[in-house]
Symmetry: C2
Subunit: 421 residues, 2 copies
Amino acid sequence: MNSILLKEVQLNGKLCDVLIEGQRFSRIAERIDVPADQRIEAGGKLAMVPPLQNMHSHLAMTLLRGYADDMELFEWLEKHIWPAEAKLTHDDVYWGTKLALLEMIHSGTVFVNDMYWHQSATLTAVEEMGLRAAIGFMYICVPGGGVLESNRRANEELRERASNHSARISLTHAPHAIYTVNEKTLLEIRAAAAEDDAVLHIHAAETVREVQQCQAEHGMSPVAYLHKLGLLGPKTVLAHCTHLSDEDIELISASGSMIAHNPVSNMKLCSGLFRFQDALQAGCRIGIGTDGCASNNNLSMLDEMKFAALSAKVQSGNPEAGRAVEVFRSASTAACQCFGIDAGEIAVGKLADAVLIRLQEPGMIGDHNMIANLVYSADSRVVDSTICDGKILMLHGEIPGEEEILEKCRAICRRIATHNA
Amino acid sequence: MNSILLKEVQLNGKLCDVLIEGQRFSRIAERIDVPADQRIEAGGKLAMVPPLQNMHSHLAMTLLRGYADDMELFEWLEKHIWPAEAKLTHDDVYWGTKLALLEMIHSGTVFVNDMYWHQSATLTAVEEMGLRAAIGFMYICVPGGGVLESNRRANEELRERASNHSARISLTHAPHAIYTVNEKTLLEIRAAAAEDDAVLHIHAAETVREVQQCQAEHGMSPVAYLHKLGLLGPKTVLAHCTHLSDEDIELISASGSMIAHNPVSNMKLCSGLFRFQDALQAGCRIGIGTDGCASNNNLSMLDEMKFAALSAKVQSGNPEAGRAVEVFRSASTAACQCFGIDAGEIAVGKLADAVLIRLQEPGMIGDHNMIANLVYSADSRVVDSTICDGKILMLHGEIPGEEEILEKCRAICRRIATHNA
């Protein structure tokens, strides 16, 4: 059983040593001196507890970072993003996902809830890189028909490839949205998710257009429609929720559904501003996600937290909304709640996820409030080391294999750009 | 004359060598092989041209980072920030400013337009750290009276200390705001600025309260009032401008005044959202600033650019507003325009300011659009080296003297916090 000894970690304001054995924390004490397979001299670095959790993304879109920006949603999608995505192969998604995971490891994130194509490539990338992830069986319907043949094939591949996947990985059922998946299929997906005891992950109430269309077709809001179909519940993740009525917020709260709030994407595409404070006060469970890189354009949850806080203030006109402590909680506990991961604390017996933060950095002084510093000041430069499931993914900024991933992805980007010219 | 040879810099999409002699670029060619006092192996790193310029800040407020957040502006100021600031000594401002300058160097910024107390300490810190700065003679009036005695003393000290200051530093006249400086004093400051041929730096149209008060007292908007007093012009920097009428925008544009836009501070304090796109289209000159660390809470212009772009989109409801290329221009050219600094290009004869960006980083791939990557994806982790006025301020992430500054500032923060308890 592999062991890691962390020496002199700052935890709850005190210095202590932490022992990891196998996948779990096995001892925490002022001083531990036992032989261990690996020893990290933390030298007073802060253990960010819990590490960050990205509740909604499309990982391989890292390959389209900066490909098209500053335009209206449907022009952006139809003229730029979809044509580029159509060129992405299984292999591209594998490398693009690895690039995304590199970025997440560098910015202190150990979990991601993904929704994309070629998911078996995503699964392989996550297995190899060592993070936690939820990967979705993806569903989009042919207009007036059933699920896309390409979805069916990719889902079958995922099912096959996942037969003996690591416990770090969950599979979700991920119908794209109510306007791309018909009612019959949504009900089938609900049944499949129930059978698998899996999380259901769907874009919901993202744009005014979606809300208006749902009102016109079903005479109710997207959230009410999902409720009517029985799709809300504690194992449902609703991505975006930028347009919620008071009734929608009540339905989400009562059902225990998880909102995955994506402030940067919503602001960048002018989708709207999520009612963070209203949802929080109504008792909704809220996680935070980066969305894909084409609409962000990075995967840093450290950045995303600041946008979440400021978006909450702007939306409500209240500077007390989106408090740092609430935003940090949203950004770091949602996956454990929703996916039942036995992590999120540095405590004996818990799964060993840990991120070490350099405090000897200009952006971390004044040091009056560490949570405020993480939410409002920190960027990925302060992240020193990342541990997930008892394995060191990054040590003092070094991730094994990083250079190869960057080179492969650079080559893929050149190919995409060339085809485009 | 000191010389620096930069080998293999990426400039306008090509690799080249760049020679700096004294304060200026002296040669740019595909290959230069001459002996130089210092040689930087850039290895294909990108020259960010121009480097970033912070058009409005209160540097030493780094010491109050995270001291008080998530509250209403006047509660925040009166109960927390002002009492803490009252404890800051000349020496604290010196160290706090050095901390701020460290953070700026790490995030690729070579200029800052500052407004704070104990300005002679600010000047010493800037002289020693090697950046460019504008430092203000500061003016706040006693209610119903003249300029604060503490302002007068600090301004005299600045005048004395500045008698032989470096050409990297400009002095400005910085009346705090129209609601803290009376009309007679504003007119005197205008005359003093004209006599010194100096920039005038003032907070303007930051809050609804300021606008309403100005309407009540003077029957016009803050910008119209400043215009009436003759305070607008190409040597005027108006910080914030979150509340502008169409007429205000026309006055600013016609006068050539520079707006210093501070998106994070305006969002965090719920001051309002600056009409970036309207002002741009009206031909206003726009720079970007971070404001002080207590309302941000960092000094990264890389972060600030993303907020500027997204704030413009949210304010206008138009995803085409705040385009990356416009935001980058605002963030990197305003100081050269406004302060007549002969920098901002890597060209023979120009003052040698340069920031080297690591492209071999996950957040810089996809590499479809470097400006979009700098605005929307980059954080300070990608900044490798910073050169200002022909001197290397940071080489491969290392800044001489950094540890001492961090330790000194940590001690000051402990003192402030202890007094508070």
